[in-house]
Symmetry: C2
Subunit: 224 residues, 2 copies
DNA sequence: CAGGAAAACTGCGCGCACGCAAGTTTGCGT
DNA sequence: ACGCAAACTTGCGTGCGCGCAGTTTTCCTG
């Protein structure tokens, strides 16, 4: 009786449950240790031990220490966006459905996650890993978009999904970076003093807005 | 008053020349050794030695062995796309300018690079590294697009550039992967035996086409 | 319910990526 | 021309990512 089912129905077995349990144990252990003693003073061996598995097994779940820590914050966001899109009524514009689904999904930044994000921001590799997680929403997004579009054009759904992921990444980066870090701010001339942070939903909408015409055109192709 | 020059004018000094020379020496050494004895039988120490620097210095230029090898194929493609876009007359649609620039830039797959690509395809980590290089075109593309759009909307140029990079990546992936590798081919039903490769320009155009409306709308915003 | 196949866990070992703290080279001002 | 400051290089050490091969656990079928 789970609400808007995830797109891919995993072959529910006892095996899969154990895997998910181990995965969750690992990422929570990683986050807890990182918060307790600072991200740099966490050995992989300790994370594995805290989760009750061997270090080698830890590496079967996460390819880097940063991934494990960040996964505790972004867990299940991939499935969340996809199901949120699928939950919208079929009448609304696909662009709006996607935008609202994304905004809603990234609204979960109010609990303890707020302080964790602050911690992440301080360590560059952690921030990079966090931004990389935006790519995870691409496969499920591709699936739901392909469903709406009827599956005519081969690469359209993938391109749109990837573009959304990129836009989300840009929004998050602009929101979290100290601004003017990577020598990128010189594009806009003498304005000076752009608002440093702003609200995340606004940034997400602003980043996704340029893509709306592409979604509209893709939809129009299937239902003139 | 610089013509079709690269967008970022590097502070030409003797220092910079040496750096570029070292970089080129490293990537060519990496490629040569990889071709000669197979990508797996190349130690980082050997690449560094062949280029006349220490292994530690090698890692100041490339973050991974795969990057060094792949860089020999994709060298200068970032600047190439940007200048190719800038070279188009100001009258044409931005979407067309970008598309043609990309197609033209990736047409350089006819020399020795053809066999190298075949080599790359065989080793998964190498292919991944190669696909990752598509992200390198994003910064210069952002700059040229921002110029054409007048710099009004903050994130629009970045989002469009990132979307183009993602589309190129998707096109390349579809072109190079044996198809049906990553459990993705099930989108197309019982057809079976889709053409394995196809032409790269066609794939690029097909992947970029869905983005054209977004470019048009962005252009229309600045010149109604 | 038994038994075999598939999948996951584990120990071992090898390079490798990168921080740090010297040492060395380039650039620039006077 | 000289010398200082900034940039680049280098050696060292540490932890880590992952391929490989063997063992243990889960799954499915007769």
């Amino acid at each position: 009786m789970w609400h808007a089912d995830t797109v891919t129905t995993p072959p529910s077995g006892l095996r899969e449950r154990k895997k998910q349990a181990t995965r969750e144990a690992l990422r929570e252990a990683a986050l807890r240790l990182a918060v307790e003693r600072g991200p740099d003073n966490v050995r992989v061996e300790e994370i594995a031990e805290a989760a009750g598995v061997s270090p080698r097994t830890y590496n079967n779940y996460f390819a880097s220490r940063e991934q494990a820590i960040v996964a505790a914050v972004t867990a299940g966001r991939e499935a969340g966006v996809a199901s949120a899109v699928a939950a919208r009524p079929a009448g609304v514009r696909l662009a709006d459905a996607v935008t609202e689904a994304v905004v809603e999904q990234y609204k979960n930044t109010g609990g303890r996650e707020r302080e964790v994000l602050l911690l992440i921001t301080t360590r560059t590799p952690l921030l990079d890993a966090f931004l990389d997680t935006t790519a995870d929403i691409e496969p499920p997004l591709t699936t739901v978009i392909a469903e709406r579009l009827g599956g005519a054009e081969a690469p359209t759904a993938r391109v749109l999904a990837a573009s959304v992921a990129a836009a989300v990444r840009i929004a998050l980066e602009g929101w979290l970076r100290p601004a003017g870090n990577a020598g990128f701010s010189e594009s806009f001339g003498a304005g000076g003093l752009v608002v440093p942070s702003g609200s995340l939903p606004d940034r997400l909408r602003a980043a996704l807005a340029p893509l709306a015409p592409a979604f509209d055109a893709a939809e129009r192709r299937i239902q003139p």
